[in-house]
């Protein structure tokens, strides 16, 4: 399980989460995700393209993060691999309709700061 980030200019932060967002995986990164989301950036891209598994506890962490960004006037978007079970989890819960999902990192970055 890993979480990392890089800042692209003054307005955009990209957070990459790899591994499994199941119960133990989410427990291990939730605090760090909250900390990274709290930075005053206009746009946040959460890159899940190398994530292998997304359970509801992980989705909960993503919803909480997206709301926090929205409340400060920013926007959080996701990057997901098209054929993955991660996309299936987002679609099954309808969360792909609440947090914008992109296949391409470049498209996600443009959308996050638009």
């Amino acid at each position: 399980m890993s979480i990392s980030y890089d800042d692209i200019g003054d307005n955009l932060r990209r957070i990459v989460i790899s591994g499994r967002l199941d119960v133990p995986g989410t427990d291990s990164v939730a605090a760090k995700l909250g900390e990274l989301i709290a930075a005053p950036k206009k746009g946040v891209v959460v890159d899940l393209s190398t994530l292998q598994f997304l359970a509801s506890i992980g989705i909960r962490a993503l919803i909480t993060s997206a709301k926090a960004v929205q409340q400060r006037g920013g926007k959080m978007v996701l990057v997901v691999d098209g054929g993955s079970s991660v996309l299936m989890s987002l679609e099954a819960t309808g969360v792909d309709q609440l947090i914008p999902v992109f296949r391409s990192a470049a498209d996600a970055e443009r959308a996050a700061v638009a």
Partner: protein, 162 residues
């Protein structure tokens, strides 16, 4: 088709019969044990030629059921073993794979929980209660009974070999 898996429609009747059957696993109630159960399910389903896309659906359901037992099952659920039963039936017309989770926690019938209306905006979204939504959307059927002081929840998927 993952390496080592045969295209299901190429399986002869005797092979389908040999790949059909039951597997069992007993685990403790913890996140680490839920992860071990996922790995077991993945390996066992591959050995029994269950299509990978369906294995992923079953794995999500299994994780959500176990997470619910761990979070809401109470002290008995945490101290007693959880039993898992995988049943695979490969048939030419309709194949099935199902998992039964048996736990000693507080009786809980998810079939009695009203279906949730999904929010339309992020502001309306509640962070909780998504596990059951996921179980319902990722399984083709759900069965529940409470017997001998244990919950027995079965979820499954079906597919056509043709």
């Amino acid at each position: 088709m993952p390496k080592g898996q045969r295209s299901p429609d190429r399986l002869a009747g005797t092979e389908r019969s040999a790949l059909s059957g039951f597997d069992e696993l007993t685990i403790g109630a913890s996140g680490a044990e839920a992860r071990r159960a996922s790995e077991w399910l993945d390996t066992t389903c591959r050995q029994r030629n269950v299509p990978q896309a369906l294995v992923e659906r079953l794995a999500l359901c299994l994780h959500e059921v176990l997470a619910n037992v761990i979070a809401h099952g109470g002290g008995t659920a945490l101290s007693a073993p959880i039993r898992l039963l995988l049943e695979v039936r490969l048939e030419q017309d309709c194949s099935k794979a199902s998992v039964t989770v048996s736990d000693a926690g507080i009786a809980f019938n998810p079939l009695l929980v009203p279906k949730r209306v999904l929010p339309k905006t992020l502001s309306e979204a509640s962070a909780g209660g998504l596990g059951l939504v996921m179980i319902r959307r990722c399984s083709d059927w759900l069965d529940y009974r409470h017997e001998d002081g244990r919950n027995h929840l079965t979820f499954g998927t079906r597919w056509n070999l043709r």
